[in-house]
Each structure stands twice: as C-alpha cells, then as structure tokens.
C-alpha cells in the first residue's frame, strides 16, 4: 500500500442515468480514480440512508449518490425525494461529528460520462483531503475497545496536588 | 476643494494581437452577472438603442469585438459614452445580458487605459464624481459651468438664459451643499478605491 491515503468510496447510481453515465465514461475510455465501487439502484429514490451508514460503518471513507437531473427523473420525481433525504442525512451526520462532505449527491444524466468521471475524481480528492474515516477499525464489528488509560489520559489519573 | 482633474488626450497605443482574456475581464469587472458570453448577436440592443445613430458601433458589434479580443478598438469606441442608460436593451435582450452595466464597465476600463477619442464624457463623469467626493452631493451649478466652459464654450451664451432661468427660479444654487459626515464618506471611498485597486490592478 502506498503511504498516500487512498480513500474508499462507495457509489450508489441510478440505473437509468448515472449508471449509464458510468458506462459511457467506460466506452469513451475516460480515466478516473479507481477508489470508487458502484452499486446499481433502480433510482436514486431507492437510496435508503441505511445503505450510507452501513457503508461508512464498514470502512468506506465517503459515499457518492448519483441520480437523474431534477425534472429528468426516469420515475418522474423520485430524485427529489432522494434530494430531501440527502439533506436530512447530511444534517444527521454533522450531528454525529462526521464531515457532511463525506456524502455527496451528484446529478448526472446518461449523456454525462465526462461529468461522471470528473465528479468521481474530484470527490476522491475531496475525501483524500478530509482524511480517513477508519470507522470500521475503531468500533466496527465488536472489536474490543481499548480502555480507560486512553479515554482518560494517564496524566489526568494523578490527583492535582 | 480638489482642483478639477482633467484627463489627457489618448496616447497612441501599439496594435494589439487578439486578446482572448478581454471578454472574461469585462465580465469579471461588471456588477452582477453580465451573461456577456450568452450574446447571440441578434441585434435587439442595437435596434432598441435611442442614441445608436451617434455610436461608432452598435452594442451588438461591440460585444462581437470583445469576443474577438479587439481591446483597443473596443475601449476606443464611443458607444459606452453615448449610452443613455435607458435599459431598453436590457429588458428586451432575449439572452438577458446586463448590457447597460457592461457599458459602465467599459467606460471604467477605457478611462483606466486612457483610451477614448473625446474627453468630454469622461471629463464630465470625473468632474461630477470629484464634486460628489468633495461635498457628498452633486453641485449642478459648479458642474454645469465648469463643464460647459471647458467643452462647449460656444454654447454657453445659448445656455445662459437657461442658466439664469434656473438661478432666478432657485432651481440651481450657486453654493454647494456639503453633507455633515463628509469624513466618513471620504474614508469609505478611500477604502473602496483600495479594494478596487487590489481587485483589478
């Protein structure tokens, strides 16, 4: 592994626009950062915040959600629902002290392969700048947390004279 | 009060090659969002302009020149100075270009680059501004007399009755009014000029 931080990103794409945009980026041989792994949903409206939390909890450093442009939803208006959930989700993450920027919503039509590619590369850099989330390592999956000495720093253990 | 500063006649400027930063610069220096790049050359502006007859170029042509990077020719054009800010072109433009404000920008750039054929208009603006900066109010009498003396000495006699009329009807006062806190205004303008300087050197 190189010493530069390579973020792990999970991408949720709409089957009708952004997933096809990703395909287009491929057929056009556009290059973008390999840090992203895509999951195909029928619609950005299918995106359940659970998916995002799950990804972050399981080791992803960022999540990219992509859908059809407002007004162009394959299912008429579901991307607006995704938009609302996204807003509330980011606010919640903020409350949890997680940088909301780790979750990004991108509109990309089936024609916007180039946009998709550049958005991915840009997002990877944004996350790289934010640094690792390493949530999984810390608390994930019942790993025994280290104890008081670290929580309550040693020096604090002494009585202040 | 500050001695009226007049601007020197234009110096010869070496021919320039296409300057493709021009359009951007004008856009950047215009208040609001100029949308200059959206022009489709339809001529609505040139058609609407009440004073187009006296312009070297219609606004439309001017925008084409900006695109073509003809800096000197564009800034030399009298068009922005003839613009009467009637905003007909602005509300009619099918692309919502902020035409009138672009004209203001071009005036500013022309003065900065000392590029204009006739110093009447720049002088007038400058004189007006000098007075405002001095008093915080415009001073029509001083302005008119000084301006006409310099630029239309021959018209003065013709204008005299009107001037007298205005005076006699107390529609013009010989002494300027000054705002109370002129210090504050001057400070603000001083700071503003520095900021402007930092922005476009």
């Amino acid at each position: 592994m190189s010493d530069v931080f390579e973020p792990v990103i999970v991408g949720f794409t709409c089957n009708w626009c952004s997933y096809r945009a990703a395909d287009l980026a491929g057929t056009a041989r556009m290059k973008y950062a390999p840090n992203i792994r895509l999951i195909r949903l029928m619609c950005s409206g299918r995106l359940d915040p659970t998916f995002v939390f799950k990804a972050l909890a399981n080791g992803a450093d960022g999540v990219m959600i992509t859908g059809c442009h407002p007004g162009e939803c394959h299912y008429l208006e579901q991307n607006y629902k995704a938009l609302r959930r996204f807003h509330l989700m980011r606010r919640t993450l903020k409350g949890l002290g997680v940088e909301p920027e780790r979750v990004k919503l991108v509109w990309a039509s089936a024609a916007e392969g180039a946009k998709f590619a550049s958005e991915v590369t840009a997002f990877v850099e944004e996350i790289r700048a934010l640094g690792p989330l390493h949530w999984g390592k810390a608390l994930g999956n019942g790993s025994t947390p280290n104890v008081a000495e670290e929580a309550v720093g040693k020096e604090k253990m002494e009585v202040a004279a | 009060m500050a001695t009226p500063q007049t601007l020197d006649p234009p110096k010869a400027v070496p021919k320039m090659i296409e300057d493709l930063t021009l359009l951007e610069e004008v856009s950047a220096r215009t208040a609001g969002v100029s949308r200059l790049e959206m022009c489709i050359q339809c001529g609505t502006c040139g058609g609407s302009c009440p004073s187009a007859a006296d312009m070297d170029h219609t606004p439309r042509m001017l925008f084409a020149m900006l695109r073509a990077g003809m800096r000197q020719a564009a800034l030399m054009s009298n068009t922005p100075w003839i613009c009467v800010s009637c905003y007909h072109c602005v509300v009619r433009c099918p692309q919502n270009v902020h035409i009138a404000d672009v004209m203001y920008t071009l005036k500013g750039m022309a003065i900065e680059a000392k590029l204009f054929q006739d110093s009447t208009a720049p002088d007038f603006s400058q004189t007006f501004v000098d007075m405002v900066e001095e008093y915080g109010r415009s001073y029509e009498f001083g302005l008119a007399t000084r301006h006409y003396l310099k630029h239309f000495p021959l018209r003065l006699p013709g204008m005299a009755p009107m001037g007298m009329g205005l005076l006699s009807k107390q529609r013009m006062s010989i002494t300027p009014t000054r705002i109370k806190d002129i210090k504050q205004l001057k400070a603000i303008l001083k700071r503003a000029k520095e900021i402007e300087g930092d922005n476009h050197g």
């Binding site: - | 009467v84 007909h88 915080g136 415009s138 009107m162 009807k169 705002i179």
Partner: protein, 334 residues
C-alpha cells in the same frame, strides 16, 4: 399608517424644487408619512458607475446603511428620483446576485463603521408607493378639482420601469400606473407611445446634439397627440425636457411649447392646493395656459390623433390582463 424612509436625492433640493414642494404639499392629504434619511449622500447618478465599480456601489450603499440604522421596523425606502431609485435598487439587487460585490462594498463601508445586509431594505419609487400603498380609491376621494379636459402625456422615462429587478411595475414598455393615477385625478390621459423612452439623460451635458434629438422625439410626439402638458416623475427628465426645450427648438428650428410638470404637482392641483404651493412657475416652459384649461369645457376635436378604437372592421384582441400587483387592486382594474 405606513411610515417610509425618504431618499430625496440632490435634485430635489435644486433643479427639482417643484417636485419637492409639491410632494411636501400632498403628503398630508393622502396620509403619506415620510422620514428623510439623515445625512444621505449623492447616489452618483449615472456617472460614478462608469468610473469605478466598488467606490460607486459603496457611495450608493452608504445611504442604505444609514437608512437601515434609522429604520426601526419600517424597511421601505422611497425615492422620488428615477436615477436615485434605480441606483439604490440596483446596488441592493446586485449585492444579492453577486455576494462578492456585497463583500467588497461592506469592506469599504467598514472604513466608516457602517455595514449593510443586502435585501434588508425594500427600495421603491414614490409613484409605486402612492399607487399600491395609498391606493387610487383613496386618491380619488381627495380630488376636489378634477383635471377634466386637461390632456396629459404621462411620461415615466427609463429608470423607473426598467430594469425593474423586483417586478414592481405592470410593464417595462407601457406601464399603466401613471396613466391610472392621472385618470384618477380626472385628467384626459393620452396613450403616449414614448412614455418610457429616453429624455437624453446626461447627454445634454456631454453630447447635446444627441440629447436634443431625443428631447425632440418626446416633445414632438406629445405635441402630435395635442397634449397640454407632460407629467413626469423624474427630475432629470423634467430638467432635460423643460430647461433644454428652447435650445432644442433653436437646434431644429421648431417651436414647441410643451410644459413639463411633476405628477405630484398635478395631484396637488386636483386636491385643490394653491398652485404656488406646488412649485408652479418654476418651470421654464410655463404651464400657465395649460392650467387655465382646467374646469373649462373643451370642444370635441376630430383631428385629435387617436388609434381606431374597435370600430367597424375586424375586432381587436382583448388587452392582456394586468400583472398581479395591478390586478389585485380591483380599483385599479376599472
């Protein structure tokens, strides 16, 4: 009772004294409370913007900053002068459209320990307030000497109906507000085609020939319609059309005599206020003859230039329903 902050503008104290006087005279009858912004400064007219961006906007915004301080609860600034109205409105709008500008301007204002939050004030023109807040019914009820028989050319000039950032006016090209007001005063309002065309602006100063042509167009057109006088709402327009009329006549060898008065003066007349209280007599092209007409019967004139009202022949399309603000005021409708 609404209370408004007044930004008079420089001309109100000099060239447009008649405007100031007549305004002062009518505020009481129509119950319009105005409070002058203390120590306001010139708005820079159309000149400063052409010199340098930030200073020009800082100059304008100082007034808004002062107004904001002074405004307790009331957030409407009223400007009787078109150029002032536009400059204030424009500064407020552009600082919103382009936050960067707002930043720079406020940075400058800091130097005077002032600041202004774009959008915190509402900038409106005097006529706007009179029509939509005071209301035509209210005004009608104050009319004691209707201007019956007086043919008036309503003239707004440019900077009030355009660019109209907030969509306050019924139209950019042929707004009806001034017409409706004058009709409410009982005047015979001509459908003046050039009602929002240019008076020459500062060209009287920097390119008189250009200006004279523009002045000629307006006067000539009003004359064609046999208007007795032109009613305006802009000091600059009044100045150009009135003070430069003789010079224009000389330039073109014409002989127009078209009095240019402020709509507020006509309101005063209709309210029965003595003309001298309304700044009459200050105009260089005397309105005396026109005023004499008021109240007198005028003979029907065939030659009057009017458009074929839907007579025989093919029917005309119905007029477009007025924009919301006008529409919602039913009294305006009729």
């Amino acid at each position: 009772m609404a209370k408004y902050l007044l930004y008079p503008g420089c001309s109100m104290e000099s060239s447009a004294k008649a405007y100031a006087d007549s305004l002062a005279a009518i505020t009481k009858p129509i119950g319009l409370e105005l409070e002058e912004i203390q120590d306001w400064n010139c708005c820079g007219a159309t000149e400063y913007l052409g010199i340098s961006l930030t200073p020009a906007y800082a100059l304008i915004t100082r007034n808004l900053a002062l107004a904001a301080q002074q405004a307790n609860g009331h957030r409407t600034v009223v400007a009787p002068c078109s150029a002032c109205y536009l400059n204030l409105a424009k500064a407020d709008y552009y600082m919103r459209e382009q936050p960067k500008l707002g930043k720079m301007v406020n940075e400058a204002l800091q130097a005077g320990n002032l600041s202004y939050k774009p959008g915190s004030l509402e900038i409106r023109h005097l006529l706007d307030v009179i029509i939509y807040d005071i209301g035509l019914e209210n005004i009608k009820s104050k009319v004691v000497r209707p201007l019956t028989g007086l043919r008036v050319a309503p003239y707004l000039g440019c900077m009030v109906p355009r660019p109209d950032y907030e969509g306050r006016w019924s139209d950019h090209e042929h707004p009806v507000e001034l017409d409706l007001l004058l009709k409410a005063l009982g005047a015979e309002v001509i459908d003046f085609p050039l009602k929002t065309h240019c008076c020459g602006g500062h060209m009287t100063q920097i390119g008189p020939e250009t200006a004279f042509e523009l002045i000629r167009r307006l006067i000539a057109s009003a004359d064609q319609y046999q208007a007795d006088l032109m009613a305006t709402l802009c000091p600059m327009c009044q100045m150009n059309l009135d003070a430069y009329q003789s010079e224009t006549n000389r330039h073109f060898g014409t002989n127009y005599h078209m009095p240019i008065v402020f709509f507020t003066q006509l309101m005063g007349v209709a309210f029965g206020i003595a003309p001298e209280k309304l700044g009459f007599g200050m105009e260089l092209v005397s309105a005396k003859k026109a005023l004499e007409k008021i109240g007198l019967e005028i003979p029907e004139q065939e030659t009057l230039l009017t458009r074929p009202k839907k007579a025989e022949g093919l029917p005309m399309p119905k007029p477009l329903p007025l924009k919301h603000q006008v529409a919602k005021k039913d009294e305006v409708e009729k």
